[in-house]
Amino acid sequence: MSQNSNLEFTPAEYMIASMARILKDAENAFMGVASNLPFFAIWLAKQLYNPELTWLNIPGKINPLPTKPPKSTVDFQLLKSSSASITLANIFDMSARGELDVAFLSGVQIDKFGNFNLSHIPDGDKIKIQFTGGAGSALICATTKRVIFWRTKHDKRAFVDKCAVNTATGNVYKVVSPLCVFSKKDGVLNLESINPDSSFEEVSNNTGFPISNAPFTEGPTEDELKLIRDFDKEGIRDIEF
């Protein structure tokens, strides 16, 4: 339970609220493949903080109005009552032109420089463990103005000193995990705030690079929690936990 408020919240809710707040001043936000929590963050930001935010996603129906949370990148919910159409290729072009403001990316490893690995773990010239591939991340991370890296598991296998392979590098702005929020400053990740349900010790013990202490994140507010819970009655936000 939170140390800073009497509201209870789950790690998913902590991450959703933390990511949604980053979008308060965003012009547009893109979520790529397999982006369960970014969906909720963008949806919440549009409800509560930034109704004019332009929401871009893989199916390319802009600003849809889903009636319940999608279970996948290509869920029909993402095609509902949208405002216009764009191709995935043209979303990448927007990023290449510098017109994409915020994008959410995830990966298996992230290191202290904000590089991330969605490719593989090498074994000499061979591939020891094959991951999913980085999807659009190499372009997005290099050209979208503010990249938010999110990961549902925070441990030393994920938060490493140096990635085995740099799939994507560049404009990492913040990193959101169930335990904390990092921001990138002077080329390295700095702890920005800690989940009030966690502690500096827990974050530090699960992070593969040195960090300095930071204040607690403001936990999800009553408004945030009510909106999320009313919308997601099936608990789709917890699918990756």
């Binding site: 199916p59 279970k71 869920d75 029909f76 191709t87 990448f92 591939i127 020891k128 392979v165 990756e240």
Partner: protein, 261 residues
């Protein structure tokens, strides 16, 4: 010219070793029935490409049809987990995964579609993918510009909602990379939910973005994307994806392939 073919006849057009661009994205508008027929016919050494794949490429890996995969992402999503046969095949070096960004897949297809040998792309900074590509000097400035080579598919295989007998076809909802694949490929194989009249195509002529002239085969297969979805007709089937993912060995895979369209 009669282009209407059976699934068997159309898959027989594909020769071992050819390069295929596969339409749809993840579990949407995948030409799944055609993919299964490639597996049934025991194709070998195919080179397949797509931005983001799962069922299709995983199944082709499982059935040992593939030599090379060019893609940005090969995985199921949270509900289902990773693509197990893809991973195993790459880790065992049975399949070469030519990892790309979804963006570089698109850019390589654009080069082929535009009839030019390479495409300049945005800087990818320190991504390891950069080591796969060459830079050129921008002739109108001084900066180095990253490029990707054209990739020319022998076939684009695309599942559509409606096609007429000549392969003039309508795609409803997201088009993904299907149009650029159709342009980049030498020839096109269409599987379609329904073969319709020319008049039916004319009703939505602005959405009839696949012209028939490069289409070599039109195969009517209702539910032909299953277990993937085909908007707006049917959603993907979680149950059928899980059925596929429960297959443990080649014998079970063969049974599965025989039971399905």
């Amino acid at each position: 010219m009669n282009k209407i073919k059976s699934l068997q006849e159309s898959a027989a057009l594909v020769k071992d070793g050819q390069r295929l661009a596969i339409g749809g994205l993840l579990l949407q508008r995948t030409p799944s029935a055609f993919i299964r027929e490639l597996a049934r016919q025991g194709k070998k050494n195919l080179k397949v490409m797509k931005t983001a794949a799962n069922y299709d490429f995983d199944l082709l890996c499982f059935a040992d049809c593939v030599e090379e995969i060019t893609a940005g992402f090969v995985s199921f999503e949270a509900e289902f987990g990773l693509a197990p046969n893809f991973r195993r095949s790459v880790e065992n070096e049975k399949v070469h995964f030519n990892e790309n960004s979804c963006y570089t897949v698109i850019s390589s297809l654009r080069a082929a579609a535009f009839g030019v040998p390479f495409m300049p792309i945005a800087d990818l900074k320190e991504s390891y993918l950069v080591s796969k590509f060459e830079t050129v000097s921008n002739p109108y400035g001084n900066e180095q510009t990253l490029t990707v080579p054209a990739i020319y598919p022998d076939w684009a295989v695309i599942h559509v909602q409606k096609s007429d007998e000549q392969g003039n076809a309508i795609i409803y909802g997201p088009v993904f990379e299907d149009l650029i694949m159709a342009q980049a490929a030498k020839k096109i194989i269409l599987t379609t939910e329904k073969i319709v009249s020319e008049q039916e195509i004319q009703k939505d002529i602005d959405l009839a973005i696949i012209p028939g002239f490069k289409v070599a085969a039109v195969v009517e297969i209702p539910q032909g994307a299953k277990p993937a979805s085909c908007y707006p007709f049917y959603d993907y089937s979680a149950e059928q994806v899980k059925e596929y993912l429960s297959i443990k060995n080649k014998t079970e895979l063969n049974n599965y392939l025989q039971q399905q369209t």
